[in-house]
């Protein structure tokens, strides 16, 4: 199997990191945020989501934190994930890379009209 390096990030991994920028989320929270930020185009299934989550954990771009939402001492079994400082840097550099691409595309008049 060929390796896909960290740069560029796979789309799913980048979307997961982006979803975690604002808040710590559990799996379903991540899935919903990704669906929202892609206008419903990307609905991560459990396989894709957790395969990416594992890779991001191994790369220390995200970390697992203690479950939240505990009520009256009973453990809530959800795992939450949080962006690490390294992960945050990577999101930023990836966003900048995409912004550079966008600038080039604009300069070449690939985009027309009112596109961002």
């Amino acid at each position: 199997m060929p390796k896909q390096k960290l740069s560029p990030l796979p789309a799913a991994a980048f979307q997961i990191l982006l979803a975690l920028v604002d808040d710590d989320l559990h799996g379903y929270g991540i899935m919903r945020n990704v669906a929202e930020q892609t206008g419903g185009r990307m609905r991560l299934g459990p396989g894709t989501l957790y395969t990416s989550v594992r890779t991001l954990l191994e790369a220390k771009l995200i970390e697992e934190i203690e479950a939240r939402g505990n009520v009256k001492g009973h453990e809530e079994r959800r795992r939450y994930y949080r962006l690490t400082p390294t992960g945050r840097k990577l999101v930023r550099s990836e966003a900048e890379r995409l912004a550079d691409l966008l600038r080039v595309a604009r300069a070449k008049n690939v985009l027309r009209g009112e596109y961002v």
């Binding site: 199997m1 060929p2 390796k3 896909q4 390096k5 960290l6 990030l9 796979p10 991994a13 710590d24 559990h26 799996g27 379903y28 929270g29 899935m31 609905r43 991560l44 299934g45 459990p46 396989g47 894709t48 989501l49 957790y50 395969t51 989550v53 594992r54 890779t55 191994e58 790369a59 220390k60 771009l61 939240r68 939402g69 505990n70 009520v71 009256k72 009973h74 809530e76 079994r77 959800r78 795992r79």
Partner: protein, 448 residues
């Protein structure tokens, strides 16, 4: 059924993946399954899942084998990296396999739904039977004919049960002085031969009930009753198992959890189930509503349940511990909501509660407390009005008694909703309550 099906599909993944993410994957499926209702959304969900499995499965299996193949390369590439299946050919294979498996699964799911609806062992009728079996634990004395010979009550048993009844009244009746008086009177009757010659268990129970109620004990809730002989009742473990099964099959009676227009959360729950069985589902439901701008709790078909569950859900509606009045329990340090809940965003969001004339018991507690705390607007009809509940004490194999046991502090008013019901803030027919609450929520959010 669907969850089991997905669990089976998950077994296709290597055990390493299942151990690490199996439970989370099922939870994710459960969340999506709950949220995505309706034929097309469910179809889309299954298509998503099957494509997801088809795409990730080869990668996961290769990943498990890869470390063995790469041991000779250990140490040469230490930088973190992503692997993916090659895009071109795998995509084609994935689409082909995904498409074929999707079609097969859709057929299986549709056939299963038809099968479940019709099959006597697992269909809705089975759920009803399971619920009935739970209900029977409460009404067992009326539903199952007693086996022991009810006409052979002897003096020894009469004495034993009267002693136990007196002890229970003294120790448990809400008003200790009344309890003492009733206990003394029962013992005096027994000493004076007031029960001599009564050999019929039913007649004995009726007489004792009549006497207790005549002595100022709560007329409706203190009673003495002939109950099942030992061995014919359902053991507690079995009752719990039946209840757990019924809750699993009915999704804990949480009928709908969804986000309506204008980002208004909607939670229709038809009971407040036992938190020891349904805590995780309740927490999931509240998490699903966490980003809503307002929440509507639909209690129109709610028949009450466990006060602890009302407190658990109410905990999400406050940012500080709030006194949670429950007329069925004495006031203790546990009589407060467990607020704030970490990560919760609903504490300051408008809340609406839909009621009907059949909303009863625990559902009335939920509506009453939130109304009194000015934390919710009640929309609908006046509720049924049932606040008190007695505890049932089994005396021996043949007799038991119900006693009004507790008196909680009501910080809001002298009386609660017993007999009179909870009066809605906005009176409309139950059928119109949801539309009305939605309009109220929209208007409220528009002002912000």
């Amino acid at each position: 059924m669907s969850e089991k099906l997905y669990s089976l599909l998950l077994r296709l993944f290597p055990s390493e993946f299942r151990q690490r993410f199996g439970e989370e994957s099922i939870q994710l499926f459960r969340d999506r399954f709950r949220e995505e209702r309706g034929f097309w959304l469910r179809l889309r969900l299954w298509a998503d899942l099957i494509c997801d499995i088809a795409v990730t499965l080869p990668y996961e299996h290769v990943r498990v084998q890869a470390p063995v193949a790469e041991t000779s390369l250990a140490g040469t590439t230490r930088s973190p990296s992503f692997r993916s299946t090659p895009r071109g050919p795998t995509l084609f294979v994935a689409l082909f396999v995904g498409g074929a498996v999707s079609l097969a699964m859709v057929c299986i799911v549709l056939m299963s739904i038809r099968y479940v609806d019709r099959h006597p062992a697992i269909g809705p009728a089975a759920l009803q039977r399971a619920l009935n079996s739970v209900g029977s634990s409460v009404n067992e004395q009326s539903q199952v004919p007693p086996v022991f010979d009810a006409s052979k009550l002897d003096a020894e048993e009469r004495e034993r049960v009267i002693d136990a009844a007196a002890l229970n009244m003294r120790e448990h009746y809400v008003d200790r002085s009344v309890g003492q008086r009733v206990a003394d009177s029962l013992l005096a009757q027994e000493r004076n031969g007031g029960y001599d010659g009564i050999t019929d268990a039913m007649a004995f129970a009726d007489l004792v009930t009549h006497q207790m109620q005549n002595m100022n004990a709560d007329a409706t809730l203190t009673y003495f009753q002939q109950i099942l002989p030992q061995g014919t009742g359902t053991p507690a473990a079995e009752r719990l198992a039946a209840y757990t099964r019924a809750m699993e099959q009915s999704d804990c009676t949480f009928e709908t959890v969804q986000i309506l227009q204008h980002n208004v959360g909607y939670f229709k729950l038809n009971s407040f189930p036992d938190p020891s069985v349904c805590r995780a589902r309740a927490v999931s439901a509240m998490i699903a509503l966490n980003h809503a701008d307002a929440v509507i709790f639909d209690l129109r078909d709610n028949r009450g349940g466990f006060p602890a569950m009302t407190a658990l859900i109410a905990s999400y509606l406050f940012d500080h511990p709030e006194y949670w009045y429950n007329p069925r329990e004495n006031t203790t340090e546990h009589s407060w909501t467990d607020s704030p809940v970490r990560g919760n965003r609903l504490a300051d969001k408008p809340v609406y509660i839909l009621t009907s004339r059949t909303t009863i018991s625990g559902a009335e507690q939920f509506a009453y407390d939130l109304k009194m705390l000015k934390r919710a607007v009640i929309v609908g009809e006046r509720t049924a009005g049932a606040a008190h509940a007695g505890a049932f004490f089994r005396i021996d194999d043949h007799f038991g008694m119900g006693i009004t046991e507790v008196q909680a502090i009501n910080p809001f008013s002298k009386s609660n909703w017993d007999d009179v019901g909870v009066e809605p803030d906005v009176k409309v027919d139950a059928a119109d309550a949801l539309n009305t609450a939605e309009r109220l929520a929209e208007a409220k959010l528009a002002k912000k």
